[in-house]
Point group: D3
Chain length 128, copies 6
């Protein structure tokens, strides 16, 4: 059963975040293998894989939460990669960050925007 | 032009949040009329009314942001009312709060859930 | 396997937080049964039950984290109950909240202290 | 020397926050006498009493910080009392809370505004 | 009317933050032109330009809010530039960051201080 | 008396954080000598030196608080150095950061873990 959760989460991480997700979790695992396992099992195997919302919707919700947190640039970049991979457009990602501004404040929205700019620019390099 | 922004925002507040939105902003206006005006003009007239995301999506994003903030129970209740009014289901609202837990922590998710419970119970009373 | 995690977590919740823990999670379950299950499985079955730190140490760490968050009064009360149940003294709990002040600020420390006062007073009523 | 810090801080608390400050710190002292002493010695005897900024300016800065924190309603009320006592006007207090909105978000500003409304209404009762 | 807000805000950004403000907003505009427009229109055209507080006071309040947020180094640097430009002294800026410490905690105050050191050192280079 | 607090705090900073603590506070002192003095006097001379908790326990509590804050990488590194110096093991430090995850969220825990990895790697270089 526990293996199922891990497999289910690992499959999502690999499919949605591709190389970025695996390298993100490899860095976590370098200091705390169990924490990277919990992220696959709990954050993805338990939560993200639930029915009720589609991956596109989940990435929108997570980007909103991470932008609001304000100091989570690295996770935010991972989820912006993921959002693009599951079909959220660049315009929608920018729109989420604009929508967050009145609640989380401009500094949180701007930090989010800088993360988005970096990811968009990485994608431009790959596709060119 | 400025009147357009106000009218556009006020129309959204009245339509999406109904009585709850107007009484929420009336309380704000009792101490700071300009702040309640800015909320209508900027948060709704400028931001919420933008194309690019539907009201359903905006409410999901805002609920995620407000739950992550952790101390915004009153605004969160207003937006849960609004989410229900624009067609987000109770199951989806609970799902958003569950999705936020790994990023914002259980206390933020649970505070959000208690706000949701209160709103759901108010709706049950009205409809019964 | 998954049942093991739930059983292990539920056993800890019942033993450490006694009635307060179960009523806390029953309130969560009233709106989101899955979230209360994840708290038992993940927060307690996976994390809290790990070797490497004793329950006394875990409660000290959690009280520090919850006090720093600032808006988590309800969880903080649950963990102050738990801390007392596993042998953390009232003096140590107050000392943790004082130690947190230079980092999280006086308002966070004072919010924590008010939660502690409430719990201490509940214990005085029970034991008198 | 240490007594000087305490005396200096206690004198400020009594003069600036009057009854509200002493009852605020008496509540803190009920659970942690040392914490209420540190607030008088450090926050007021060391910091607030420094030259370089006037009390009016310090209260404006503190109100901005406490409103930004979002969950510090009780301290915020104490400092709004203090601000009024040292000559900050109601209009200026509301203006600070409006100025904070673009950075800390509307929910933080609105929480601050509700604290201000409560204090203003207490003052109206006293003076009527 | 809307143009008035933009013009009024743009004039303030140019006058108060000089090159730093325009390059800050140009970076925002590179990913989200509308967000940089809202900052000029709302944060400056609507809010900052209000009567009731002078620019010197507004910069003090904003520095307090941004330092309290803790993760807003870039905005904080912009507003420290602005504060110096409208006549807040280096000593007063340091004093604000010290005054914030008991409420927002030493880490927030120290992050703010490092931003201030960077700006002061940029000014020393220009004037030497 | 005040000198006692300073001496007591300075002795703790030198003994617990060694070179890292002094260079950390020297950087603070470069812009605000008084703030670095308050840290020695208040955070260490008043608070850390109190009886009731051992240095090992205080470092655990402080690491939990700083990890929860999320944006305090520099202080966190100082306290991870200190924790190792007073006998907290690497395994315990990682365990604290894992224990914090359900309350403060994965991003805060992961930011903390990256700080820990940096410190562990600095220690490996010194001892090799």
């Amino acid at each position: 059963m526990s293996d199922d959760r891990y497999e289910r989460g690992a499959e999502i991480v690999a499919r949605v975040y591709k190389d970025f997700g695996d390298s993100f979790l490899a860095e976590v695992a370098a200091a705390a293998p169990d924490l990277s396992r919990y992220i696959r099992e709990f954050a993805f195997g338990d939560i993200y894989s639930r029915p009720g919302l589609e991956p596109r919707q989940r990435e929108m919700i997570i980007i909103s939460s991470l932008a609001t947190i304000g100091y989570a640039a690295h996770e935010l970049k991972a989820h912006i990669h993921g959002a693009l991979n599951v079909g959220v457009t660049r315009e929608e990602i920018v729109e989420i960050l604009i929508q967050v501004a009145p609640y989380a404040g401009f500094p949180a929205a701007i930090n989010g925007l800088h993360a988005a700019k970096e990811v968009f620019s990485e994608w431009d390099k790959i596709s060119s």
